[in-house]
């Protein structure tokens, strides 16, 4: 099959240069594999295939020529709802298991079982403990940490009946959840219950299944993900505004280059500590390098970027291409979104993939297992391996195709409130006055089915033009940063109202709020704003979008945004279109139940128009100028 034009792959010149080099070097990439897969399974694309039992596999014929029911009797609606439910459960499980790892780390700190990790933000530890109703007065740090860990252990179980951060949800929203039976009860409970419900012969009502999917997504957003965010801040520090750089140009030809890839800060923070070790820097220099350079990929990169200002090499679709530069010694990975192909790509160069988690091994990778007891020592081993690999680097194959772009990061809710003088008041005033017409969380992944970064970057541009403040997390951070949208000067691209506010505060019109679990920061902020106005989140002039999403986790995030009352535009349709019932529920029916729904729109201008129309309606309903 003839390859498509290079310009159709990505809007980024560093990506295009590396795709070209990959072809010359004979390296297969994600785009090659997508072409091999086309056309993809039509039944699966519509959600109409079921592999849940061995009476099957079954498929429903959407053209009405073949079977209308699976062997068990499930129709298109039930099969689609079951499949979607499992998709959402998988996404919630991923975020929440990540949260569990932070919780185990906090517990180990509290028990004095680790010297490698500690409490960097004690104020936040005490604040969160008090928030969830724990008595912190007179207790020492470890005792508070122990009590908080014990409380959050219960959030994962089913003893308490609701997750601890339910108190952050505005009262009106809690009422909605209660009315429709979607109040999240326990993180693991709600995920496991979905696996139960989707077993043959359990929940056979599409709407009931979708409502439980909403509940379990809320157990992620206001549970597992929120715990991951808050505990990461407590253990590694709450982010504050800082500057950094982004794109493949952050790699350095004369340095030992180490990339962290995955999601949790637990491993990446230790790698950061090791690359700053003077002894290891001396070793690197002895090996002929000018020093050791650390950069991030995907969400663990976002974690280091937010807290430490470590530069970002790229997002999801850049992970293979980073290796194609020939300048990367080691990619250290933990879990989630790490393409198994990286091992093969690394083998085409001198690079090594180092896996670190017992739950995420990669055949062909070097496995250096991290735990709370050995993390610092294991990080030293990783850096030593990178120095050794540097000596094997073939400089004639190195091509670093860009100069880095500046970006700002570190906008935690604490940082935003601090910048506003301690309360959300000034932000609300700007919203009421129509200077900032609303806020849009633009988040999510990359997907090789669509032009890399095109939809994300252009939707951001369209939103800020309309005086909509944009909040980014995850892979969209890099999409925005590379286009120069994460610097204060980008205020020039914003509408007059937003531009003036940004210039007064010295902030970009697009705020980086963290990794994908940090979408919990965005819903928490929505909760704060709604509480300040005495309204439901669904009444706020806010929206969300996942323009280039690919993962199960993104489906969960989209659903918890909607279930929290936030209108959400997806750039690609989830595999639900085979059921008219489920599709109608997603794109309109949920509006009646939860006060928000999904839209699917792949064109960034049209997506911005949908968002604008929603926000205009919300503003009008609040009695504000549209």
């Amino acid at each position: 099959m003839p390859k498509k034009d290079l310009n159709d792959y990505s809007i980024c010149s560093d990506a295009r240069a590396m795709i070209k080099k990959a072809r010359e070097d004979g390296v297969e990439t994600v785009w090659d594999r997508l072409e091999e897969q086309l056309p993809q399974c039509g039944f699966c694309e519509l959600g109409l295939s079921c592999r849940n039992c061995v009476m099957g596999p079954c498929r429903i014929d959407p053209f009405g020529h073949g079977p209308k029911r699976g062997v068990c009797g499930a129709d298109a609606d039930v099969i689609v709802a079951r499949n979607f439910g499992r998709m959402v459960a998988a996404g919630a499980a991923a975020h929440s298991d990540h949260g569990r790892d932070l919780l185990e780390t906090l517990h180990a700190v509290a028990e004095g079982e680790t010297g490698d990790y500690g409490i960097r933000d004690e104020e936040k530890l005490r604040r969160i403990a008090a928030e969830v109703g724990l008595d912190v007065a007179g207790k020492d740090t470890k005792a508070v940490a122990k009590a908080l860990a014990d409380r959050f252990f219960e959030d994962f179980g089913f003893r308490r009946g609701s997750v601890s951060f339910l108190g952050r949800v505005p009262a009106k929203r809690r009422e909605v959840w209660k009315k429709f039976g979607v109040t999240p009860r326990g993180i693991d409970r709600d995920i496991v219950e979905m696996m139960h419900r989707t077993h043959m012969g359990v929940d056979n009502d599409a709407v009931n299944l979708c409502l439980h999917a909403a509940r379990l997504s809320l157990a992620d957003g206001w549970g597992g993900s929120m715990i991951a965010t808050e505990l990461s801040d407590i253990i590694f520090g709450t982010p504050t505004p800082k500057t950094s750089k982004v794109n493949l140009g952050v790699l350095r030809a004369d340095h030992v280059n180490i990339l962290v890839h995955g999601h949790s800060p637990i491993v990446s923070e230790m790698i950061l500590a090791a690359v700053r070790d003077p002894g290891l820097i001396a070793k690197a220099k002895a090996a002929g390098a000018a020093g050791i350079n650390l950069a991030g990929l995907c969400c663990t990169g976002n974690e280091l970027l937010m807290r430490q200002g470590i530069p970002m090499a790229g997002n999801h679709l850049m992970t293979e291409l980073a290796l194609v530069t020939g300048a990367v010694e080691v990619v250290v990975v933990d879990y989630q979104c790490i393409m198994p192909s990286l091992v093969t790509v690394a083998a085409c160069y001198h690079s090594r993939i180092v896996s670190t988690s017992p739950k995420a091994k990669f055949t062909g990778a070097t496995h250096i297992e991290f735990d709370v007891h050995n993390a610092r020592q294991k990080a030293v081993e990783v850096v030593e391996l990178a120095i050794e690999r540097f000596t094997a680097r073939d400089q004639s194959r190195v091509d670093i195709p860009a100069t880095p772009v500046d970006m700002m990061t570190g906008f935690s809710n604490e940082a935003i409130l601090a910048a506003l003088g301690g309360t959300a008041g000034p932000l609300l005033d700007a919203v009421k006055a129509g200077k900032i017409r609303g806020a849009v969380g633009i988040v999510g992944c990359n997907n090789p089915k669509v032009k890399h970064d095109y939809q994300s970057a252009n939707l951001i541009r369209e939103c800020i033009k309309r005086d909509l403040l944009v909040l980014v997390t995850g892979c969209v951070t890099v999409s925005a940063g590379k286009q120069g949208l994460l610097v204060p000067q980008a205020a020039d691209l914003a509408g007059p109202g937003l531009s003036a506010v940004c210039k007064a505060l010295g902030i970009p019109p697009v705020l980086h709020m963290g990794s994908c679990v940090d979408n919990s920061r965005i819903i928490q902020l929505c909760g704060l704003l709604a509480d300040a106005l005495g309204v439901d989140i669904a009444d706020l002039p806010v929206a969300a979008a996942a323009p280039e999403w690919y993962s199960e986790k993104a489906a969960t995030i989209g659903l918890y945004a909607v279930a929290s009352g936030i209108f959400t535009v997806l750039g690609l349709a989830p595999p639900i279109l085979g059921s008219k019932t489920v599709t109608d529920l997603a794109v309109s029916g949920l509006d009646d139940v939860l006060g928000a729904c999904f839209a699917v729109e792949g064109d960034p201008v049209k997506a911005a128009e949908l968002i604008d129309a929603r926000i205009t309606a919300k503003r009008t309903a609040l009695g504000l100028v549209p």
Binding site: C41, G42, F63, K580
Partner: protein
């Protein structure tokens, strides 16, 4: 017979029915799966998977015979040879749904459904049209594009048979090719 045609290798078929769904999509009005399944008159597949012994799948489609028994049996001359060279294509506007073609067809590859191009009729003959529009545009038939296992390929029939002859020649001398 056309030089290039859909060659079926039933031993490679895994019964996934991708050819059927992509065939129906290719014959819909929108040609986009997500909207094709919402059209008033749903397109239907023109390739079918028969079930053999031990549930072995057998892809079955029109051979575009010449002379074609279906065409000879068709009273209103609805099965036309003048739409695309070498293909026997049903003209829904002429079909009266009498079923004579299906009775004459030795391969059971004709079905009867409502058709978007003759919406006033309760049912007309629906069969493979060789994806002549796709082929004219430089593509391959939708069923072939969908097939992941090589059970359906679009090949020069004489070249395919020549390869077969060579395999047979090897086998005759005890060599497995």
């Amino acid at each position: 017979m056309l030089k290039k045609t859909v060659i079926v290798r039933p031993e490679l078929c895994v019964g996934c029915m991708q050819c059927m769904i992509r065939c129906a999509q290719a014959h819909s009005r929108s040609k986009i799966l997500a909207s094709a399944i919402r059209e008033d008159i749903l397109a239907k597949p023109r390739i079918h998977i028969g079930v053999g012994p031990e549930h072995k799948p057998f892809p079955n489609k029109c051979r575009h015979c010449e002379p074609a028994p279906c065409q000879e049996a068709c009273m209103p001359w609805a099965i036309r040879s003048d739409i695309a060279e070498g293909l026997k294509i049903v003209d829904p506007a002429r079909c009266i749904g009498c079923g004579m073609c299906a009775m004459a067809c030795p391969y059971y590859v004709i079905r009867f459904y409502r058709d978007k191009d003759a919406p006033e009729r309760p049912a007309v003959a629906v069969k493979c049209d060789g994806c002549h529009e796709r082929v004219a545009a430089g593509g391959v038939p939708a069923c072939v594009e969908a097939c992941k296992t090589g059970a359906l390929t679009f090949e020069d029939v004489n070249l395919y048979l020549k390869e077969g002859t060579n395999r047979l020649a090897n086998a005759a001398y005890g060599v497995r090719a």
